[in-house]
Amino acid sequence: MLRILHDTNFDFIKWWRTAAGLTAAFILLGLASFAFRGGVNRSIEFTGGTLMQLKFTKAVDAGRIRSTLDRAGVRGAEIQQFGADNEFTVRAQNSEDVASQAAGAETVAQRVEAALTKEFGANSYTVGRTEAVGPRVGEELSRNAAIAMLLASLVTLVYLAIRFEWRFGVAAVLSTAHDVLVTLAFIKLLHVEVSLTVVAAILTLLGYSGNDTIIIFDRVRENLKKDRKSPLYDVLNRSINETLPRSVLTHATTLAATLALLFFAGEVLRPFAIVMAFGIFVATFSSIYVASPLLLWIEHKWPRTSSDKASGKATVRASRTEIPPGERSPRPRQPEKAGTR
């Protein structure tokens, strides 16, 4: 039997301060970038504008394309190499152009094509795709994306809150929120272009990171039922260690799929894959270093009372205090060795 990280006994929780410092620093860096350099790099789906993907028959210089477009009056267009050295994207997000396009003027795409044909010749390039989005559509889509983000977060959070007793729920919710923040900071710092597909990646991560926390917390809950003596600190550590092989394995498979996307699925999906790959790391990190310490902190702050116990949910102790007599009373438990049905 091949085993990795089996029967480990790392004291994960011990490092929570370092972890919290690191993640807080990263988030702050992201926030600072938001504050000083404006919002994220949104795709034309959201800003309105024109995107063209061009493939030239031979390698050309991006500067030459830029000057050609400048002369044609398509100013401020962003020209980017897209994969190979003969493929480029032209992104015209100039608000004037967007407005004139909405008014039914000659489209930016037509102007770009006319200018390029004049400069490079008629059959020197092909247009792979064109996207032209009016300002109103962009606004609507931005709003929809925002609603989707909020709604998905809300739904996930409500599910987590219902699924667990509130202390677990709050910890899971906060750690999931943390993941989204860190991912946003990452997107901002790496200047990843946020398209609707990237929004989809963020939302998928929302669910994914929730899962990770759920799996560790499930184990915590189970261990708490079995072991009523150890302090929560130890129970948490043990639970993380026990679920470690699973975490490593499942992240390995998901990461393998994501890396396949990143390296082989082409340029269009690359932002999605980058965000996804980063998010998987963050989800792993946060379920260990964020969710668990948070749970510990919440238990410490709001120790359980007898009413909590009456609810029949798992009970824990935050510190090595003496076990209250009430907790020793036998409670209905799930049979541990019932196995053979």
Binding site: M1, L2, E45, Q53, A102, G104, Q110, T126, V127, G128, R129, T130, E131, A132, V133, G134, R136, V137, N144, A145, I147, A148, L151, A152, V155, T156, Y159, L196, T197, V199, A200, T204, L206, G207, Y208, G210, N211, I214, I215, D218, T243, P245, R246, L249, T250, T253, T254, A256, A257, T258, A260, L261, F264, A265, G266, V268, L269, F272, G339, T340
Partner: protein, 552 residues
């Protein structure tokens, strides 16, 4: 053991159902033949590909209110959709989508279109056809002093050179070129050119730009002056001063005379003698003298009215006005016209243009003008690339996952890999069965869900290992492993499905594809990871009774 038999039966039945729904069948679609894409019947797996994978065009149209507000938008939009749909159907696209989105948008999806400009033209053309008689009362000439006065008052820049010289130079050419050749028309044009060959009233800012054409109601404007004149015409004061019951309409094409291009403008009776609503047929044609034309047929009622009206207007000139533009040069009415007529598009126009015009005429006029709010156009070759890349990523992802699972879990890993194979098949079958559209993000979702799909198995296997380590028997450990892992697996699935549902609700096409694939994938993985793998274990246990070790 009968329990086991039913389990196996269910799995086999689902495999059969999947195979059936994925079985290649005949569909009509665009395929590459040499260098061009043509429609053809091909036999292939019935998985619908989104526009981003097969290439095509996505259009979002909105009511254009720049030329007047629309009272009942929703109703107007419903009617517009019908017209757009008819036009698209005639345009010849394999599986077009025309649907309302929200209260004020029409979404048009045209798979496999490679001339987006042309498609946009066909969709957007309002195609409002009117037949109007040109003015015979010299109403414009009478109004010109008033126009000039208005412009003077407005202090409009006059800095446009009078085109007098060129006009005179071109006059002879004009006569030669524009003589329609028919007796009465020739007479009429001779009359008019004799009457005045000069600019109408010299001096005025407005009248300087305009000169008389060859018959009453026709005027010429040098092409370079067209924007200036249009600017004048857009002035509210000028609009108000246009003779009552008359309208000014530009001609559709320029006439070139030597170095100067002229654009005709016509003063027309604003009441049309007939509109396009009586039109029943239209077809393109090419005739020697007039060039490309569209021949149209009116229905009986329209024919009756047309005959009556044209009988009243013999020797008058009739402008055929499409979307407020006079098509060709107005012909003279020789006698009463019945149900047939033609629209002259002029020399040098392609038959395809006439085809498109005939098409929009047949489909009817748009009740409201539409403007394009969003265009996405993806070339077919880019779509092919995307599919190839997506499939490659999928294969590599599956290979990596298989490698990890088999190396790490050995025999149990093999079981999960077989389950993964079933999973891929089930998911694809579900997409085909529900007619879901596979998009590029959808492919990404598929690839991703392969990674997530084995997550459930990892959870179960790890749990079984733990139970085995505690010294439990193989059978008990397997039972325990599945039982304990179940809640976590369901949690995972529920949260992901909820997020995907939200995405589906608020996303656009490609992202909706992602959501659908993710939901289908997770549903399938719940079944394969839990039910199928468990069945495999049960089968294995029934074969090797009393197995003391499990390769996991």
């Amino acid at each position: 053991m009968s329990n086991l038999k039913y389990r196996v039966l269910l799995i086999v039945a689902l495999v059969a159902a999947s195979l059936w729904s994925l079985f290649p069948r005949k569909v009509v679609e665009r395929v590459k033949r040499g260098d061009t894409y043509v429609f053809d019947t091909v036999t292939r797996v019935p998985l619908k590909r989104g526009l981003d994978l097969q290439g095509g065009m996505h259009l979002a149209l909105e009511i254009d209110e720049s030329k007047g507000t629309v009272a009942d938008k929703s109703e107007a939009l419903d009617r517009a959709i019908k017209v757009v749909r008819t036009r698209i159907d005639e345009f010849g696209v394999a599986e077009p989508v025309v649907q309302k989105s929200g209260t004020d948008q029409i979404i048009v999806e045209l798979p496999g279109i490679d001339d987006p400009e042309r498609a946009m033209g066909v969709v957007q053309k309002s195609a409002f056809l009117e037949f109007q008689i040109t003015d015979k009362t010299s109403a414009l000439e009478k109004a010109l002093p008033r126009f000039d006065a208005i412009l003077k008052e407005a202090g409009a820049a006059v800095g446009v050179a009078a085109a007098g010289d060129t006009a005179k130079k071109g006059e002879k050419g004009l006569q030669e070129l524009f003589t329609p050749g028919k007796d009465s028309a020739a007479k009429a044009s001779n009359d008019s050119t004799k009457k005045d060959s000069l600019a109408l009233t010299p001096g005025g800012a407005f009248s300087k730009l305009i000169q008389q054409g060859q018959f009453p109601g026709e005027y010429f404007v040098a092409e370079k002056d067209v924007p200036t004149l249009q600017r004048y015409l857009d002035l509210p004061a000028i609009k108000a001063a246009i003779p009552p019951g008359k309208v000014l309409r530009w001609g559709s094409e320029t006439q070139s005379l030597g170095a100067t291009q002229y654009r005709p403008i016509y003063l027309l009776d604003s009441r049309p003698i007939i509109t396009g609503e009586y039109l029943v047929g239209a077809k393109p044609n090419q005739v020697p003298l007039e060039g490309t034309v569209v021949e149209f047929t009116l229905n009986n009622e329209g024919g009756r009215r047309f005959r009556a009206e044209t009988a009243k207007h013999i020797r008058d000139y009739m402008a055929i006005v499409l979307d407020q533009r006079v098509m060709g040069r107005p012909p003279v009415i020789q006698g009463a016209i019945g149900t047939r007529g033609q629209i002259t598009m002029g020399q040098g126009r392609s038959l395809q243009e006439a085809q498109d015009l005939a098409l929009v005429l047949r489909a009817g006029a748009l009740p409201v003008p539409l403007k394009v709010a969003e265009v996405r156009n993806i070339g077919a070759s880019l779509g092919q690339d995307s599919i190839r890349n997506g499939i490659r990523a999928l294969i590599i992802a599956v290979a990596l996952v298989v490698l990890i699972m088999v190396v790490y879990y050995r025999f149990s890993g093999v079981l999960s890999v077989i389950a993964l194979g079933l999973y891929v098949m089930y998911t694809a079958a579900m997409l085909a069965y529900f007619n879901a559209v596979l998009t590029l993000p959808g492919l990404a979702g598929f690839v991703l869900s392969v990674g997530i799909a084995v997550d459930a198995n990892v959870l179960i296997f790890e749990r079984i290992r733990e139970e085995l380590a505690r010294g439990k028997t193989v059978r008990t450990s397997i039972d325990e492993g599945f039982r304990h892992a179940l809640t976590a697996i369901i949690d995972t699935s529920v949260t992901t499905i909820l997020t995907a549902a939200v995405l589906y609700q608020y996303g656009t096409g490609p992202v909706q594809g992602f959501a659908v694939t993710l939901i289908a994938g997770i549903t399938a993985s719940l079944f394969t990871a839990i039910f199928v793998v468990r069945t495999f274990y049960l089968l294995w246990l029934s074969r090797s009774r009393g197995a003391q070790t499990l390769s996991i």
